[in-house]
């Protein structure tokens, strides 16, 4: 009896230990945050054999993102770099010779303009600058917060023709034909750069990292224990901060756009930063839209279905392969595209 009991208990202990070992990740988990890139928080979660190895990986990601950040900046000059700001300053004057990574971004943006039926327009700088200035002034002095006039916005919108962004691939130049137009790549730069940096990381042998650049999340491989990364989507209107759902992510991207952080208040009403190119005012169909697809740049661009009525956005999403979306409406209603994975 005792012998039999010993065998059973030993078997149980081995089984429990076996299960424990099976779920033990091969590499340790590490996290890093950077505050200096793309005017947002960059988070990196990764599995590596040592802290030094992870630091090396995080540094590669940081340095690569920093290069893109400088190239796509519209506010700051950097010594020896012609960036988007330089292109804007030369609007109507002369083509600007730029890094190939700017050419590639603008070619991608022109394609995304077509895919999103014009909702993503990097040539809307003149309109977005007006909103940016009013929002900054409204946050600085809430008692004097004002809305821009429709006349002012309409006048600026006359200078947003993306066909007047002339890209010369052979000479690697960009020229804005309209002297009053300007580029604002804020709607796509983070997602596009995240995708490019993820590809650089993969080429450098990084196999298990999750990158988030201001809500643009790109998964490389799986976690160290072989399970899919788990990315939560928070409910913007839940005061307690609950998540809407968790999404399993492997070698894919998830991007959320919403009204919740960047806004100002005029006469008791919130005005957020996502401007509808048709009305020239913030769209108010939803509080957030989340896109799931392979490419982080495309996910960022498609998040502009925020400006479309639900049915129109759904039709667009369902027409694209391996692309899903989640909409959170003003009243808290949730809607998903047909293949959105909900946990």
């Amino acid at each position: 009896m005792i012998k039999k009991l010993s065998v059973v208990i030993l078997a149980l202990i081995l089984a429990l230990n076996g299960a424990s070992c099976a779920s033990q990740p091969e590499n340790k988990r590490y996290e890093a945050e950077f505050l200096s890139l793309f005017d947002t928080v960059t988070r990196i979660v990764g599995y590596a054999e040592s802290k030094e190895k992870f630091t090396e990986q995080a540094q590669l990601l940081h340095d690569s993102l920093e290069e893109y950040h400088r190239l796509y900046d519209i506010y700051t000059d950097y010594e020896g770099i012609s960036n988007i700001k330089t292109i804007n300053e030369q609007a109507g004057i002369a083509p600007v010779k730029v890094d190939r990574r700017i050419i590639d971004l603008l070619i991608f943006a022109k394609e995304a303009y077509k895919t999103t039926n014009g909702q993503l327009n990097v040539a809307m700088g003149s309109v977005l600058k007006i909103w940016h200035d009013y929002r900054e002034a409204g946050i600085d002095a809430p008692e004097n917060a004002k809305l821009p006039s429709l006349d002012q916005l309409t006048a600026a919108a006359a200078h947003t023709d993306i066909d007047k962004v002339i890209i010369d691939e052979e000479n690697s130049t960009v020229y804005l034909e309209d002297p009053q137009m300007s580029l604002d790549v804020g709607g796509i730069a983070k997602g596009y750069a995240t995708e490019q940096v993820a590809e650089i990381a993969e080429k450098n042998g990084i196999t298990s990292v999750l990158i988030s650049v201001g809500g643009n999340v790109r998964a490389i491989g799986k976690r160290g224990d072989g399970t899919a990364w788990k990315v939560g989507v928070q409910n913007p209107i839940d005061e307690q901060g609950e998540n809407v759902c968790d999404v399993p992510l492997t070698d894919a991207s998830l991007v959320t756009s919403g009204t919740y952080e960047r806004y100002y208040v005029v006469d008791g009403q919130k005005y957020h930063h996502i401007i509808d190119p048709d009305t020239l005012f913030p769209a108010n169909y939803f509080v957030s839209v989340t896109i799931l697809c392979k490419d982080s740049g495309m996910a960022d661009a498609l998040a502009k279905i925020f400006n479309m009525p639900y049915e129109e956005g759904l039709t667009l999403i369902e027409s694209l392969p391996d692309t899903e979306a989640l909409w959170v409406f003003q009243d808290g209603t949730l809607k998903y595209s047909s293949g959105f994975p909900i946990e």
Binding site: S212, W229, V231, G232, E239, E261
Partner: protein
Amino acid sequence: MSNMTFAKKTDVIIVLIILVISGISWWGYQHFSAEKQVKAEIYYYSDLVMTVDLQEKEERSFALPQDEHVVFHLYKDGSIAFEASDCPDQVCVHAGRIRTSGQFAACLPKGFVLKIVPAGEHDEDDTDIVVGR
């Protein structure tokens, strides 16, 4: 044939022991995984400057010596938020309350990151990163 029994007494005892151990293990898993504990970490320019126990069940506001103009608020329900900041964009305050693993908020101009992490080791059920605020 009449001497054959369906199971010996010792076999029944062994089966009962296995069932009891399995039951205890299942209860333990359900109990401890259902009440997964989390904590908040506050970073100031990449340095961990404070860990906050979210199970205090007491509501309070506090600031850190690194910058007393940035005020945090801990709620009774175990959530935490940036309550006030003299930063220009107020994105940190707009981020609202956070409480589950993977959620975070940040005050970029002031260099603070507030994030929720598991109190123990990160496991398969924990969310890695949360977006949407």
